[in-house]
Amino acid sequence: MKTNTVISLMSLMSIWMWTGEGQIFQPELTSNAFLAKVTSNTVILKQPYCVFNQPCPGCEIWLVAGLCSANGTFDALVNSSTTNILSLSPYPTAFNPSSNNFFLTRVGLLSDFPCNQYPNDRYFVVGADGICSGVNCNGVLPDGSTVCFKYLLIDANRTLINSSNWSGNITLPKLLPLQTIYDGLSARSGAMVVITTILCVAAALLLLLFLIMLCVTCCRPTKKDSKQISVMNSIRIPRYDTHNLKERVHPYDNPAYQSDLKNYSTSSTLPKNGARKL
């Protein structure tokens, strides 16, 4: 029995010490892969589980958010002044040129963040209230600045009990004006070049062929077989054997010239060239 209790006590203590060792003592960025983890004016932090491990009924955890250059200013002010530190630097004027460059905002009750729970997916958005006007509202950070955070343990009387370490520097990206986007022509695609060149060449070729066709058809000298008759020698030879004669009888042929029988009264007697056809 005794060894059992001793073992359980030892294990409890080791667990407590382990959680004590794993205790983060400063604000940290959330470990979730949120797309808006760090924007130009907001930051998403882990919730302050197990940051302050002391019993403190009615205490609250507050966050100091400001430019990293104001870390020293805040520490000095906290050490020196005993007045209500919560209203040291109201949010609306916090980041004016001659101001303290930090503001305080409430995260939650200490009892909401016990040490035996350690949910890593809980988050706290710094800047969730936007541009607000309360003294301790959770307003946006200056655009593109380098910011640091610190947790404070404040009791019910608004006095500071404990404070964590400062977080590491978190650089917010500067918001780019949309005029910086160059929206001119990026590059000509290959398809456009191909279409343009081939179509221009085709149109020019077509015009050229059209003109060639016009020239060829209108101005070419005719070489075709024409039906024109060149009248060189218009010899008109009457035919005397058209009437009352049979095909075979050619009375005007001199039989003595048998060999020339066919040569005198038919169209074969007429000159071959230059005769006008009747």
């Binding site: 797309l35 808006a36 990026s186 398809a191 221009c200």
Partner: protein
């Protein structure tokens, strides 16, 4: 050329004209499809003043129908074996050819300006989304519809809204990092997890950008007018060359 060869050439001319008439009618139909803009992305090109893709589609409507009518006339002219008719046909076809060339080249060139990279679309979105002018309302409506239907956010991704200043950020930046259209919704159209969406939890927001969809739609329109117009023009070029040979062989 012998009579038989001439008749053969006449049939070739008629066949090519018939095919070109059908192709011209199809061009007419495709160009109507582009002009109707079923994807409703016209404001993206209209607001920036670079809407020549749609202008080219309108030209293609007219030239496509003109090709159809003129090729039918060409069939008639070839059957008539008349030089006069063929000459009229050739001149009209050449004029329509030039207009269709203009349409194809315009569409292809203008597409490069609009969707060569995502800059123009992104800048326009940042400038006009949530703006209260007429163009702003058109752009807002278009982007909301695209983001909800295609399930995307921003031009290249939700980080566009974080990196750049925008009209939306000026107006709603204190409450919303990006528009609610970027968030996943239930079937009742309610946002599934508004808080998670506003911090950018991966399961509640659409992580991809809308530029790919916009680019693919506008490219689809462009290639419909431009490449199909190009192929019709190549067919018409070939037809006109044969028609010119036929013309020369006529008496």
């Amino acid at each position: 050329m012998g009579a038989g060869a001439l008749t053969c050439l006449m049939f070739v001319v008629i066949a090519l004209n018939a095919i070109a008439a059908a192709a011209g009618l199809a061009l007419f139909a495709v160009a109507i499809w582009v002009a109707v803009d079923g994807y409703k992305l016209y404001p993206i090109s209209g607001v920036s003043g670079k809407d020549d893709i749609f202008a080219a589609a309108w030209i293609a409507i007219f030239t496509g129908f003109a090709f159809f009518l003129t090729c039918i006339y060409g069939i008639f002219a070839a059957l008539k074996r008349s030089r006069g008719f063929m000459m009229v046909y050739l001149i009209i076809m050449f004029i329509i050819f030039l207009f269709e060339c203009a349409s194809a080249i315009t569409a292809a060139t203008n597409r490069d300006y609009l969707v060569g990279n995502s800059n123009l679309v992104k800048k326009q979105m940042l400038q006009y989304f949530a703006d209260s002018s007429t163009q702003g309302k058109q752009i807002t409506q278009t982007w909301n519809r695209v983001m909800e239907q295609v399930e995307c956010c921003g031009a290249d991704g939700p980080s566009d809204w974080i990196q750049y200043n925008s009209t939306f950020k000026q107006m709603f930046g204190s409450t919303y990092i990006w528009p609610l259209s970027c968030c996943k919704r239930l079937s009742t159209f309610e946002v599934e997890d508004k808080e998670g969406c506003m911090v950018g939890k991966a399961s509640t927001i659409f992580p991809k950008g809308c530029f790919q969809h916009i680019e693919s739609v506008l490219s689809r329109y462009t290639w419909a007018v431009s490449w199909y117009g190009f192929s019709v023009l190549m067919l018409v070029f070939f037809t006109l060359v044969i028609a010119m040979i036929y013309y020369m062989q006529l008496e």
